[in-house]
Symmetry: C2
Subunit: 414 residues, 2 copies
């Protein structure tokens, strides 16, 4: 089965708004073995919408319409799909009653135009909306002699997603041949995409039945494995076999096999060991602390730290000796080490991390160029420190630096 | 003139990748008075691509194709557009020579399939690519008796954008009636979208010739004004008139009229006054420092600060008396005040800011629920402190808290 996804709304044809629902829907459809062949965006224009709907019905088994189901004059999806299919709309009295009740319970007077939301395509199933006033619709029909499914969903993601998951996913599963999907996501930090691909391509190319997708983004590479067949056991075994071989090759470079982020994994390890952490950051300006504390419950292991942009604060908050800064410069292996060790002592934490570097765009010199960063991890017995030269702009240098720091700590905690 | 934008590539039909070029192109086309009526995504499939191209030529004056211009077998745009138009492709010998030279200069042997990149639609203008090996094409032609423009651009944004700006924008301007666009963006912090709209709708609805778009995102609302006419003076005067009336209404709630971010504006004000800043953050965990230091040159006014997740660190780094925490709780007006004043003294900065609150999802109580945040700004003479109850999840509470803090400091600096 193949699908077409149509996003409806003039605001989606401006420079400011973008359809993101289709990524969610594509993931779900792929899980069912349904491939998306076309995606379209069309404005709130009746004739254009009718034409787009007809093109979709002529070429796709399944068409999903998103948006245009509200009560205003701009909401044209119901009427346009009815016209494209040559069918009618009927006002559903149960929906009318539900709408009256919904408005009454909020103490709002319902205006007549809201009743349009009770207009349903002939033979369609109504999909109640738990998070808004616009119901969806599900229709199995024919178009030019071919079996077709049309789904109408509301545009807001918090309405569309639960409606699809609770009311469309199983209905679609019943409409496609039974198959089982197995999926694995392996996450790898701080390995260049090209190097990673060179190492694992000889492995995954021997599994032609498994779809392997490699996605690289800012210091993290994700390896997505997916396959499907009519037997659950066979599908799971097959994808586990490939995942196992890739794990053997990459070993501890893989930090997550169940979707967790690097921040989450580091947090899990710290909590398992009843260990605590403090950080002292210069060029990353709080980003490392921010990423760590973005995880709910991080207060169990993260005590805090210092953002030490000025040299005075490196001394005041992490006890970096002024002489050390004078001798080696603020951006140096020695100062990174002193930051990690100093913040650890000051915060009485099990681990301390220090980062100092030049994020740019200014401040670089021939000896110490933009992108040069020193990162240290201390635990009271041993302090590891690395020098890195990250390419790219300020944002990228800061992000890579914090990813490197988290990955160093992860490696220490394994 | 109206336009259709077609993104080509099977990877754009997965859950992982999304076309973003079309937002850039829409902005540029709108500047020329060209409206986008349709956007499509299609995979690397010859027949589907031919069909999509024919539909576009039948309904749009201008069609922009993005991607599929490389050397591999998956790159099918040239052939598909030629077939849709019923025209041929010719190998351009100048391009062949350029490709040979390009590869030679890099010391890479060019494989024959690269020559496909020299295949040009009959009567098309070649658009040299300064940032890659795939040239673009510009074609003015007819389809079913109507004048049509087709533009073929490479998919990577760093190739597409400069190619469009340097080689297509002026060509398009010559093809559409002369008109001048005036545009203003007013940014407002910490005013709910509905309240803002209620205040300014009576104003902007009187300017029906100006397109007013209100975009809300995480504590910031942007008001975009745009209009066009055949006279530059008239267009500028008209949009200035509306912008002026909205500025009168919202007064100092508007923080930026030239595109600057809140962080940039606060940085500008601090630098103009030769003032410095330090921050002490609890629930925002470094996000405030991170946002401030994301601005290049922030070291001129930002000294640093402390992330004081634990109570001990609130005392150690910002001199908050332990008794104060015991008496009022770590999340209190008094502790926020002490954090702002303490970090200011410790860092010897002109201004100090303190944030303490409950970001969630856990840690809330009936008296102190998730979302409760206290934010303080101190300058040594006066300390302002506010209590806020932000809705939403952890990420949202943290983001709103830092936006509120930046806006409080901005208001103090005006």
């Amino acid at each position: 089965m193949n699908a077409e996804i149509i996003a409806i709304g003039s605001e989606l044809l401006t420079p400011f708004r973008q359809d993101t629902n289709s990524l969610f829907l594509t993931d779900r459809l792929n899980q069912l073995g349904i491939e998306v062949h076309f995606k379209d965006v069309v404005g709130d224009n009746h004739d254009q919408l009718v034409s787009v709907a007809r093109i979709a019905f002529s070429r796709a088994d399944l068409t999903i319409f998103m948006g245009g189901l509200g009560p205003t004059e701009d909401d044209l999806t119901r009427e346009a799909v009815a016209e494209a299919l040559g069918t009618g709309l009927e006002r559903d009295q149960e929906l009318v009653a539900w709408l009256h009740k919904r408005f009454a319970s909020r103490g709002i007077k319902m205006r007549d135009n809201n009743l349009r939301q009770a207009d349903v395509l002939a033979a369609a199933v109504v999909l109640p909306n738990a998070n808004g006033s616009a119901p969806g619709q599900w229709l199995q029909t024919e178009y030019e002699g071919k079996a077709r499914i049309a789904i109408l969903l509301p545009g807001p993601p918090h309405e569309l997603r639960p409606m699809f998951d609770s009311q469309c996913f199983e209905r679609l599963r019943a409409a496609v041949p039974t198959q089982f999907i197995a999926k694995r996501v392996l996450k790898v930090a701080m390995v260049p995409e090209s190097e990673l691909d060179a190492r694992i391509a000889p492995i995954y190319t021997q599994f032609a039945d498994i779809q392997t997708t490699i996605l690289a983004h800012a210091g993290e590479v994700q390896i997505h494995l997916q396959t499907r067949s009519s037997s659950k056991e066979a599908t799971d075994a097959r994808v586990n076999e490939l995942a196992g071989k890739i794990e053997d090759e990459l070993a501890d470079r893989i930090f997550s096999t169940a979707g967790e982020s690097l921040e989450q994994i580091v947090g899990c390890y710290l909590e398992m060991r009843s260990a605590s952490l403090a950080v002292a950051e210069s060029c990353t300006g709080g980003l490392l602390a921010e990423r760590i504390t973005n995880i709910p419950g991080s207060s169990h292991y993260f005590l805090g730290g210092a953002v030490v942009y000025s040299n005075e604060l490196k001394t005041a908050f992490a006890d970096v000796p002024p002489g050390l800064i004078n001798q080696h410069g603020a951006v140096s292996r020695e100062v990174a080490t002193a930051l990690a060790e100093g913040i650890r002592r000051r915060c009485k934490s099990s681990f301390g991390m220090g980062i100092t570097g030049i994020a740019g765009p200014d401040g670089g010199t021939p000896e110490k160029p933009v992108g040069l960063v020193y990162i240290a991890v201390a635990d009271g017995e041993r302090t590891d420190v690395v020098e890195r030269r990250f390419p790219g702009d300020r944002e990228r240098v800061r992000w890579w630096s914090t990813t490197q720091a988290l990955d160093m700590l992860r490696t220490r905690l394994i």
